[in-house]
Amino acid sequence: MVRAERWATVVYLAICLVLLVVWLSLPHDGPATDRSTMSEAEFRAGWRAMAGPDEGRTPVRVAGDDIYLLARQWTFAPDLVVAPNHRYRVHFLAEDVVHSAAIGGVELLLWPGKVETISLTTPGYGHLPLQCGEYCGLGHSRMSGSIEVAK
């Protein structure tokens, strides 16, 4: 019995040591994203063209392959309607503080003034969830985007 307990202890410690080494050595940076070379001015020009004259106050139906989303406390602007099964380049820009964009199983940290870009293919129907995953102030929990997939 004592021998069995000793073995159990040794095996337990060995498993924990392996887990510890794996945790310390594993990369935790998540899936790779596109390297954006877009400047803030280019983003803003693209955003204005996409959002139209009412500056995104009503939902915008995206015409081309590029989507521009502004992240600010505590919203992603504008609300979008996108085509199903279509590959888009989604560009994000944080306007005020650091936010993040969790979309399509990937999360991007958004620093004010720095454009981040991700390629993503829309599903056949429904709603594409977009959420801020970085605490950005009291309204952080309600900071989500509205992207509807429709023909």
């Binding site: 935790h28 503080v97 940290l109 009291l138 900071m143």
Partner: protein, 437 residues
């Protein structure tokens, strides 16, 4: 100060923090009640200030004062313990001032939400220093422990120092000029995760102590129990190393600390919990004793909270479902520790009877219902940390789930009030052995 007086001091700080947290919770409810809120002399932001102070008192102060109490129990004597207690009490009093004065910008960052006010920061520093001072005497016990419990408590104290190291390294590494929200989030992110290892270690200590009382031995063989606590300590002490690899403002840093809990906690919890379950299933005798109830209910609530952790969303109420249940499990273990060990050790045993059992049932089952409601609401898309219209309760399912949250919370509060009232009454009663006041 005698060892008994010091233990009583820590016990009073721990339960007193819960009592004040309870009063703040009541004020929180009033501040959100139409008409009643007009009678409060505070601003609309008081809700957040009271919420933050409530969280810090009911989690950090309560848990860490219990660690101070355990340190005084296994390594009492000396001057560092009473000095630590004095600092911790002073820190706790300072933490209360900004909320009462309705001052300080609230930050609802994860793990350790703060009020951005000099007195709140000073309170945190004093309290953290006080606990550190009390835990210093535990370090020699890591090498010469007189018992399994002493080693377990010493490891828990060691985990605390790892958390302090993470906070300190983060404070040094985060660049000046970082925005307040991101600064607080990342300052407390790494150390906050290490504190979750500490909370788990506290529960495992409770299981060990209560198991020894109930069955005459711990849930696991002594050697394996030591290994369990050693592994928690090893993971905690490895945590500060991560700052050298992943800078604290990056995404990798956030993910690595999230992964830390996945790697460090399931195996020790499963082993000790499995041991508790096995003993509970085999035990004869009084299954309704406070020790048995605390063991059984803490295991059930903690285990369900652990399983809920596998189904977290990004920002919905499945996250509070997970942490209300796991924290509820730790609370049940600590309630058992007070009722079965601490109060009798201080010469103030609880009266027993129905109230002793009811506090565990109300709190345990209430927390379970509360967490279930949060889980269902989160699965339906209700965002966390939101109120009123922001909750978006636009369907019957969401409203019903949030109703379950309220019902469970109400039941749990009854159990909490019975515990706090009973423990405070006994701790404040003048005993024959007490000195003059």
């Amino acid at each position: 100060m005698s060892a008994t007086a010091e233990r009583r001091g820590w016990a009073l700080l721990a339960v007193g923090a819960l009592a004040v947290a309870g009063v703040l919770a009541l004020l929180l409810a009033v501040s959100r009640t139409p008409h009643a809120q007009d009678w409060l002399p505070w601003s609309p932001e008081f809700f957040y200030r009271a919420l933050i102070t409530h969280v810090v008192l009911s989690i950090e102060v309560w848990f860490l004062a219990c660690l101070g109490l355990l340190s005084a129990t296994v390594a009492g004597g000396g001057r560092s313990g009473p000095a630590g207690l004095a600092l911790a009490v002073a820190g706790t009093l300072l933490l209360l001032v900004p909320a009462i004065a309705d001052q300080g910008e609230p930050s609802l960052n994860n793990y350790l939400p703060v009020l951005q006010h000099p007195l709140f920061y000073a309170g945190l520093l004093l309290f953290a220093g006080g606990i550190g001072l009390a835990c210093l005497r535990l370090l020699p016990l890591l090498f010469r422990p007189p018992s399994v419990v002493a080693f377990a408590v010493a490891c828990t104290g060691g985990v605390y120092f790892a958390a302090l190291a993470c906070f300190a390294v983060a404070a040094l590494m985060i660049p000046a000029g970082t925005g307040a929200a991101l600064f607080h989030e990342r300052l407390f992110w790494g150390g906050g995760h290490v504190l979750q290892i500490l909370n788990t270690a506290l529960l495992l200590v409770c299981w060990q102590v209560l198991g020894e009382r109930q069955w005459g031995r711990g849930p696991l063989p002594a050697g394996l129990t030591r290994a369990v606590f050693l592994s928690l300590l090893a993971f905690a002490w490895a945590a500060p190393l991560l700052y050298g690899r992943a800078e604290p403002l990056g995404l990798e840093h956030r993910r690595a600390f999230t992964a830390l809990l996945w790697f460090a906690l399931p195996l020790p919890s499963l082993l000790m919990g499995g041991g508790v379950a096995l003993h509970l299933a085999r035990q004869g005798g009084n299954r309704r004793s406070p020790a048995s109830l605390a063991l059984g209910l803490s295991l059930l609530v903690f285990a369900i909270g652990g399983v809920a952790g596998f189904f977290l969303g990004l920002a919905d109420t499945r996250t509070p479902s997970h942490y209300h249940a796991v924290i509820g499990g730790v609370n049940l273990g600590l309630m058992g520790l007070f009722v079965v060990v601490v109060l009798p050790l201080l010469g103030r045993p609880p009266s027993g009877g129905k109230a002793a059992a009811l506090q565990f049932h109300f709190y345990g089952w209430g927390q379970l219902v509360h967490a279930l409601g949060f889980f269902l609401a989160g699965a339906a898309g209700v965002p966390r940390k939101s109120l009123g219209l922001d909750q978006g309760l636009d369907s019957l399912g969401k409203m019903a789930a949030m109703g379950v949250v309220g019902l469970g919370g109400g039941i749990a509060v009854i159990g909490g009030v019975i515990f706090v009232w009973g423990a405070l009454r006994r701790l404040l009663t003048r005993e024959a052995g007490d000195g003059p006041r």
